[in-house]
């Protein structure tokens, strides 16, 4: 594994929020082309970790390197260059409610490229289609779309700049199982066609099984284990064991093994 293959490298990360240590010592690396899931119980700092990678929250100590650049101390210029290479899908989609879906997807292109309007619109429509949305929903406002369609619109905006890396925060939360499975499939599809590296925070054990190559389990302020899903479920650590041994964890594992065998 050469340095070039590591896209994100987190070393000795510590975070103190509201008087408690959320992260005591996080070490984690993300390799190019992999889908890394981040899981953990509520309040273990998954979303905080994601926000720190995105430079939205500053960690108390430690280093986070994205594309080989330290983001915790990056100048605005370096950060801008990095931001152009990643895409983010937020938990609540964060679509601009005053813009139509098409305008939402066109927005990053308008800000970051010098293309003419017609090309921008064509590219945006292409991405909307790649995200699996029908073209006639492009002129609708986010509030007029269903939850699953909003997720797809958010995903279209996240991939519109052809990023190398995308962050997904709970992509399947609040979706019905069919829509969630469709979204999982879409994420895999995009990952393979566009050669993306994906970091996803999720609670959905089904999508952990189907989408991820590797899963990092957060607990007690550290990464308890970062490995393939089938290794992780057999980890003897009581916290991990409890997480996956609930009825839903068992069911997801069962259906996955049944489906693949």
């Amino acid at each position: 594994m050469t340095d070039n293959d590591v896209i994100i490298e987190i070393k000795n990360l510590k975070t103190r929020l509201g008087g408690t240590w959320v992260h005591k010592d996080i070490n984690l690396s993300v390799r190019r082309g992999e889908v890394l899931g981040i899981v953990g119980g509520s309040g273990t700092g998954k979303t905080t970790l994601l926000r720190e990678m995105l430079c939205l929250t500053r960690p108390t100590a430690g280093s986070i390197k994205v594309f080989g650049q330290e983001v915790t101390t990056a100048s605005p210029q370096t950060l801008l260059a990095i931001q152009r290479r990643w895409g983010v899908l937020f938990q609540s989609n964060a679509l601009f409610s005053s813009l139509t879906v098409l305008e939402n997807v066109m927005f990053p292109l308008r800000e970051h490229t010098s293309l003419d309007l017609a090309s921008i619109q064509e590219l945006a429509i292409l991405k909307i289609q790649m995200a699996g949305l029908p073209v006639d929903s492009a002129l609708k406002y986010p509030a007029e779309l269903s939850g699953g369609m909003q997720k797809r619109a958010g995903l279209a905006r996240a991939i519109v700049l052809d990023p190398e890396l995308i962050f997904l925060d709970e992509p399947t939360a609040g979706l019905d199982p069919n829509t969630a499975a469709g979204l999982d499939e879409l994420i895999l599809n995009l990952q393979s066609t566009m050669g993306l590296t994906i970091v996803m925070v999720t609670h959905d054990i089904d999508s952990l099984w189907t989408v991820t190559n590797r899963v990092a389990f957060l607990g007690q302020g550290v990464v308890l284990c970062a490995d393939k899903m089938n290794v992780l479920v057999n980890n003897p650590n009581p916290i991990i064991h409890e997480f996956f041994s609930g009825p839903r964890g068992r069911a997801a594992e069962g259906s996955h093994q049944h489906g693949t065998s």
Binding site: S98, T113, S119, I125, Q129, L139, Y141, A143, L161
Partner: protein, 372 residues
């Protein structure tokens, strides 16, 4: 990177050579290069991707758009030597472009239609406003009979934020209005040596018109907008729906305490404004017109009837109802987006001030008919 990515057309081999990164960052420069190429009228052209180092979906889109537009002019296009990854990406983008249906056309209504649409929208809104008032009245009557449902705490909160917290700014503004009025009127009165009549003019104008109007306008900016924004955010956050499902009507907990609170607070604020308006006038009369504090206070009760004060204060509850109901109504009307909170807050303030001034004009007509 841009130097390395080029598209070059070789007319002899009829070959378009792509070199370097075909990606979004280089797209504008590649598009200008393509625009400069003069294409032959007919025959075959091959697009060669051997030297392409990297291609993303924007690059694939560029190649396919080129292929489509050239094929329309009667050329035959072949793609060759693209790497397996690029080829699969090209396939996927091609499939998506093939599915593409054009965007539904947006029709823009003409001027007359716009006027019509707006008129109907305004009338509808007025209708919903009336329905809202009806519902509130009904709720108020229902709750009036059940003292257990009276929300003293919410009422106290509304009084505190609409009344008490507004005292300083209203005092300051009223004082300044008093000063400005006295200055302007004093300049005229001084020409006739009628300095002492400033007491009559100032007393009547402040008590009857300025204090109620200035206070109401200030409060609609301060409180009406706050009502709309906070209720609107609660609406977006589904807090209003949550209350409804918990068997507590939003009117009982959120709307009526605010409306009743302002109904009580605005007359009191108007009285407060009366005091500071007159004090401002007194200070200015003392300095500019040489009317002593004693003269001013001595003349005041002789020339200003109690009626003026009561008329001024009497308008305040009406203004309060206008501000509070419009503020709450616009808050409840918030839909879907953060933008609509902003729009409705603006509407709430504009409509409240508009109707305050209309109501004031109506009052003037009524009072003059009644010879008050």
């Amino acid at each position: 990177m841009t130097e390395h990515s080029t598209i070059h057309f070789d007319p002899n081999n009829r070959q378009l050579k792509c070199r370097g990164d075909l990606n979004l960052a280089n797209l504008p420069s590649l598009q200008t290069m393509l625009a400069k190429i003069s294409w032959p009228g007919s025959g075959e052209i091959t697009i060669d991707g051997e030297a392409v180092t990297k291609m993303d979906s924007a690059g694939a889109w560029l190649i396919l758009e080129l292929q489509n537009s050239l094929e329309k002019t009667g050329l035959t296009i072949h793609l060759q030597h693209f790497s397996a990854e690029s080829a699969s990406l090209l396939d996927i983008v091609k499939k998506k472009l093939g599915e593409k249906t054009s965007l539904p056309a947006m029709t823009k209504p003409n001027f007359l239609a716009t006027v019509g649409i707006n008129t109907i929208a305004q009338l509808r809104e007025f209708q919903t406003y009336l329905a809202f008032i009806g519902k509130l009245t009904f709720e108020a009557l229902r709750i009036a009979l059940k003292p257990a449902h009276w929300r003293w705490k919410s009422l106290a909160g509304a009084l505190y934020s609409t009344g008490y917290q507004g005292l300083p700014i209203i005092a300051l503004l009223s004082f300044l209005i008093g000063v400005v009025l006295t200055y302007q009127m004093g300049l005229q009165l001084r020409n006739y040596g009628a300095n002492i009549y400033i007491v009559d003019l100032l007393g009547l104008s402040v008590l009857r018109e300025f204090a109620p109007l200035i206070t109401a306008i200030m409060v609609s900016g301060r409180t009406g907008s706050a009502f709309t924004a906070s209720i609107g955010m609660m609406k977006l956050n589904q807090e209003i729906d949550a209350l409804d499902t918990l068997g507590v009507t939003p009117a009982e907990l959120l709307l009526l305490p605010r409306i009743i609170g302002l109904f009580i607070a605005l007359p009191l604020l108007t009285m407060w404004s009366d005091i500071f308006g007159i004090v401002g006038g007194m200070v200015m009369s003392n300095n500019m017109l040489g009317i002593t504090w004693y003269d001013f206070i001595n003349r005041f009760p002789h020339v200003i009837p109690l009626r003026s004060f009561i008329i001024g204060i009497g308008k305040a509850p009406v203004f309060a109802l206008i501000i509070a109901t419009i503020g709450c109504f616009e808050g409840i009307q918030v839909k879907n987006s953060a933008d609509s909170v902003g729009q409705n807050t603006t509407r709430s303030v504009v409509l409240a001030i508009f109707f305050i001034i209309v109501a004031d004009a109506v009052f003037s007509v009524i009072f003059s008919k009644m010879k008050l």
